[in-house]
């Protein structure tokens, strides 16, 4: 039986369809989830896709964080459900405090859209086991509020525990502290990043080709072997 990966749609989500497609290309079943439902339809993992949920009003991710479905996601993530937050999804995860720190406006105050080189710094999470430790990948990055910040103690903790999952290479595109592109929780089931692996899953598109597919094959491998 194929693994079922839920993809949540909030009002203002943009990348839910691309994410569903990436899930299918990896060989899993994509299950659309709606922000107003509390039911996760018994999925084995959840992806919070990118976009501008609630128009980024108040703070990016701040209003989505209180949607009915997030209550269930928070509860189950704490019990081990694999959750991936991409871009706006990462912002939602920091707002829930499932991941530490916060996201702020890019330091140069401009929207950014580019091919971004990343290093996979932790290939042990539920979403990265199909990568090599230290592997360099190209993934599209597009955001306004991509600047990762956390207090010094949190940063030191993340670095010491290997919880910086992805780091920007060559260019720090938004002023993120320690060039952090993505992080994981201590258990490795909750991962968030600003760049968009779901846009790099087919050879036809972009410099990275299929560099992003590993996120989705990782979770499949994890679930099938579980």
């Amino acid at each position: 039986m194929s693994a079922r990966v839920g993809v949540i749609t909030f009002p203002g989500t943009l990348d839910d369809r691309d994410t569903q497609r990436a899930v299918r290309l990896a060989g899993a079943e994509a299950v659309p989830l709606w922000h107003k439902d509390k039911d996760l339809k018994q999925v084995d993992a959840v992806v919070l896709p990118g976009g501008f949920s609630y128009g980024d009003y108040l703070r990016a991710g701040a209003i989505s964080r209180f949607s009915p479905i997030m209550e269930t996601v928070i509860e189950q993530a704490k019990a081990g459900l694999p959750v991936l937050g991409i871009c706006n999804g990462f912002q939602v995860l920091t707002e829930t405090h499932l991941l530490p720190g916060a996201m702020l406006q890019n330091n140069h105050l401009q929207f950014i859209c580019r091919e971004q080189k990343l290093r996979v710094e932790n290939a042990d999470t539920a979403w990265t086991v199909d990568y090599e430790q230290g592997q360099e990948i190209h993934v599209p990055l597009k955001n306004m509020d991509g600047r990762y910040v956390a207090d010094e103690r949190t940063l030191a903790e993340l670095e010491a525990e290997g919880r910086v999952a992805f780091r920007y290479l060559d260019v720090n595109p938004n002023g993120s502290l320690n060039d952090i592109a993505g992080i994981t929780n201590a258990a490795g089931n909750v991962v968030g990043l600003m760049p968009h692996p779901e846009h790099a899953v087919e050879p036809l598109i972009g410099a990275g080709g299929t560099d992003g597919l590993g996120f989705f094959t990782s979770i499949l491998k994890k679930l099938v072997n579980a």
Binding site: L58, R59, A62, F66, T94, E95, H97, P100, G101, A102, L104, Q105, N106, N107, H108, L109, R147, V149, A150, D151, G175
Partner: protein, 87 residues
């Protein structure tokens, strides 16, 4: 109807590029002598019923959990006295 104001500011150690952009624009506009600008948010809440300790406690809870993200922001809650009001 009483008004309660919640001011939310980025913590001092957090870089505020918007504030910096405003500060840099000032001399060009002829406004000299401003060495730093920090930009924040102000929420004006019209409160039904009395603004007593219980109401203020609820508003502080609201600010703490929703209006501000205390990882990056500080907030101040105060009751806005209407101009000319006698206490």
């Amino acid at each position: 109807m009483a008004r309660v104001v919640v001011d939310v500011m980025l913590k001092p150690e957090i870089l505020d590029p918007q504030g910096q952009a405003v500060q840099r624009a000032l001399p060009r506009l002829g406004f000299e002598g401003i060495s730093d600008v920090r930009q924040g948010k102000r929420f004006e809440l019209e409160v039904e019923g009395p603004v007593d300790d219980a109401a203020l406690a609820r508003i502080r809870e609201m600010a703490e959990t929703f209006l501000a993200n205390t990882v990056i922001e500080d907030f101040v809650v105060r009751v806005d006295e209407p101009a000319g009001a006698t206490s």
